[in-house]
C-alpha cells in the first residue's frame, strides 16, 4: 500500500510557514506583533517558521513531483503532511488566536468589568486541543494528514523524556516524597474500589480487572498492559478506553478553572492533576492549560504521573493473582513477560535524561541554586515594585512562612533563598492580589534565576513537543471514541473518577502548607 497522497497542501503549508517567518524577520509584521504583544517571541517564530516551512516545501515538492513507491520512505514521509497541519494549528493559536483573545478579554474587562479570557483560562494549549477536536469531528482530518496525526503520542512521549533534563536532584527528591505516598494511596485505592464496585455491579472479572488498571494507574496504556493477565476481550478494552477518555477530557477542562478558583499554586495544581486525572496525556494538558507560559506545573504533574506509571508492574501482578483466584478456567499468562513486554520504556528514558542532567552537562552546577540568592550580585526590585508589595494585605495571607518571605523580600528587595523563592511563587496565585503586586512577585523570581542557555532550549522544545502532541491528541478525540463508553463501566468510572479527583484535591489542600 502507498500511503503518500498527491496533494499541494503540504507545499502550501510549508510556503505559508516560511513566508510568515520571513515577514516577521523582515519587520513587515512589526505593527501586528506590537498590537498582539508577541514581539518577545520573534526569535521563536522565525526559527520554527523557517525549519517547519523548509521541511514542508521540500517534502511537498517531493510528494507532488515524484511518484512514491511502497516502502519505508513512502510510509514515514507520508506523516509529514499531518505533522505540518498540527504545527500550523499550533502556530495559529499560539501567535494569533491566544494573544488576540487575551486582547479581547482585557478590552471586555474595561467595558463590562469581566476579563472572560482570563477567567476561562484561554491559552494556546486549550485552544489547540479544541481546534483539534473541531477539525476531527466537524471538518474531518484530510486523507493526506491522517498518518501525521498518529505521530502525536510520539510527541508527548518525547516531551516527557526531555523533561527529565529540567529537574534538579533536590527538586525530584522534594516532589517524590509527596508523590510516592499520594500515588500509592490513590492508585491502590482506586484499583481496589473499582474491583469492589465491579463485584457489586456483577460485571465480568475480566472487565473489572482491565477497568481497574485504567482508572487506577495511567489510563489507556495501563488498561492495555493489564488486558492479557485478565483475559480481557477487545470490547472490554474499548469500553475501558471510552470511559477513561470521557473522564480524561472532562477533567482536562474542569481541573484548571477549579484550581484557579481555589488559588492553588503551580506545585499544588501539578500534584492534584498528576494524582486525580486518569490519563497521562490529559495530565500534561491540564498542567499546561493551568500554566501555559512556564513549566513548573508540568514538572510536578509529570513527577506524579511517572510515579504512578512506575506502580504499573505492582498492579499487573495484583490483577494477575486476583484474576487467577476467581477464574480457574482462565488461560495461564506469564505475568513477568507481560510486565517486561508492556512497561512504558519512555519512562526509563526520562530517568536516564534526569541522571544525565545531574552530571551538569545541561547547566552549570550552581544553576539550580538560583544565581542571585546570595551576595550583592543581581537586580533588586525597584521602588515601584516594593510599593506594590507593601500594598498587599498581609492579613489575607494564611501561611506564616509566606508572610515572613514577603517581609524579607520587601526588606532586601530580592529573594534571598530558594525556599523564599518557592514561597513567593506560591503567593502569585493568591486571590485578591493586585496586578502590580503580582508583577513584582514575578519579577523577584525572574531576577533570582538566570536560566542556562541549554535549559532555555530544552524548555522551548519541550513546550513545542507537548503543544504538538496535545493538538494532535485533540484530533484523535472523536465523538465516536467517546461513545464507546457506556453501561456499567461508565457508572463505575464515574464513581471512581469523581472520588479520585475530589479525594486528590482534598489531600492536596490538606498538604497545602507542605506542597509548594
Amino acid at each position: 500500500m502507498v500511503y503518500t497522497k498527491k496533494t499541494p497542501w503540504v507545499l502550501i503549508i510549508g510556503i505559508i510557514m516560511a513566508a510568515y517567518a520571513w515577514l516577521v524577520a523582515s519587520g513587515t509584521l512589526a505593527g501586528t506583533l506590537e498590537f498582539l504583544h508577541t514581539k518577545g517571541k520573534v526569535g521563536e517564530m522565525v526559527t520554527m517558521g523557517y525549519i517547519f516551512g523548509g521541511i514542508g516545501i521540500v517534502v511537498g515538492l517531493w510528494q507532488l513531483f515524484i511518484t512514491p513507491k511502497q516502502g519505508h520512505i513512502d510510509y514515514y514521509l507520508s506523516t509529514i503532511g499531518g505533522a505540518l497541519l498540527i504545527l500550523l494549528c499550533v502556530f495559529l493559536v499560539k501567535y494569533g488566536a491566544e494573544p488576540l483573545m487575551k486582547q479581547w478579554g482585557a478590552a471586555s474587562h474595561k467595558a463590562i468589568g469581566w476579563n472572560w479570557a482570563k477567567t476561562l483560562g484561554v491559552n494556546y494549549i486549550l485552544l489547540g486541543i479544541i481546534v483539534g477536536m473541531v477539525v476531527v469531528n466537524v471538518l474531518k482530518v484530510p486523507d493526506w494528514a491522517e498518518n501525521g496525526v498518529r505521530l502525536s503520542r510520539l510527541g508527548l512521549k518525547t516531551g516527557v523524556v526531555l523533561l527529565g533534563g529540567l529537574y534538579s536532584a533536590a527538586e525530584l527528591a522534594e516532589y517524590s516524597q509527596w508523590s510516592i505516598g499520594l500515588i500509592f494511596f490513590f492508585v491502590l485505592g482506586s484499583v481496589g474500589m473499582t474491583l469492589w464496585l465491579g463485584r457489586l455491579k456483577k460485571i465480568p472479572n475480566s472487565m473489572g480487572g482491565v477497568l481497574s488498571a485504567g482508572l487506577g494507574v495511567c489510563g489507556v496504556s495501563a488498561a492495555v498492559a493489564a488486558a492479557p493477565v485478565v483475559n480481557a476481550k477487545s470490547s472490554e478494552i474499548a469500553y475501558t478506553i471510552g470511559t477513561i477518555l470521557v473522564w480524561g477530557v472532562l477533567m482536562m477542562f474542569i481541573f484548571p478553572p477549579v484550581g484557579r478558583a481555589l488559588g492553588l499554586s503551580y506545585e499544588q495544581f501539578g500534584a492534584w492533576a498528576g494524582t486525580g486525572i486518569l490519563n497521562s496525556a490529559q495530565v500534561a494538558a491540564a498542567a499546561l492549560i493551568y500554566q501555559p507560559d512556564g513549566i513548573e506545573t508540568l514538572k510536578v504533574a509529570e513527577i506524579f504521573n511517572i510515579t504512578r506509571i512506575l506502580v504499573l508492574p505492582i498492579i499487573v501482578m495484583w490483577l494477575a493473582v486476583w484474576y487467577v483466584e476467581r477464574e480457574q478456567t482462565g488461560t495461564k499468562v506469564n505475568v513477568m513477560q507481560v510486565i517486561i513486554g508492556k512497561f512504558p520504556l519512555f519512562v526509563l528514558g526520562f530517568i536516564v535524561v534526569f541522571l544525565l542532567s545531574t552530571t551538569g552537562v545541561f547547566a552549570p552546577a550552581d544553576h539550580y541554586k538560583g544565581k542571585y540568592f546570595v551576595g550583592e550580585k543581581g537586580k533588586a526590585l525597584d521602588d515601584k515594585a516594593i510599593d506594590a508589595l507593601k500594598g498587599i494585605d498581609v492579613k489575607s495571607i494564611e501561611r506564616d512562612d509566606q508572610k515572613a518571605a514577603l517581609a524579607r523580600l520587601i526588606e532586601t528587595k530580592k529573594n534571598s533563598t530558594k525556599a523564599d523563592d518557592v514561597l513567593i511563587r506560591g503567593l502569585e496565585k493568591q486571590k485578591g492580589m493586585s496586578k502590580e503586586a503580582k508583577k513584582a512577585l514575578g519579577a523577584a523570581h525572574k531576577h533570582a534565576w538566570k536560566t542556562a542557555p541549554r535549559i532555555t532550549w530544552f524548555r522551548s522544545l519541550i513546550v513545542w513537543f507537548f503543544a504538538f502532541g496535545l493538538t494532535g491528541l485533540g484530533m484523535q478525540i472523536t465523538f465516536r471514541s467517546l461513545a464507546q463508553a457506556g453501561g456499567q463501566p461508565l457508572v463505575i468510572g464515574t464513581i471512581v473518577g469523581t472520588v479520585k479527583a475530589v479525594g486528590a484535591l482534598i489531600a492536596v489542600l490538606m498538604l497545602k502548607n507542605l506542597i509548594g
Binding site: M1, Y3, Y75, Y76, T79, E146, N147, R150, L151, R153, L154, K157, T158, V160, V161, L162, G165, S221, V224, G341, K342, P344, L345, F346, G349, V353, L356, V361, F362, A363, P364, A452, P453, R454, W457, F458, L461, Q476
Partner: protein
Amino acid sequence: MADKFDRGTALSIFKSDRLEDIMALLVSLVIVGIVLAMVPVK
C-alpha cells in the same frame, strides 16, 4: 480500519507501543545531541 492502517494502529504509526517508546528515546537522544553540540553551557 484495517485497510486504512495496515501498518501501525489507529493511534500510532508504529506497530507497537514498545516501538513508539524506542522512537521517542531515539528522537530525544538526537535532540539532546544537537543541543549539546550547538548551545553553549553558560
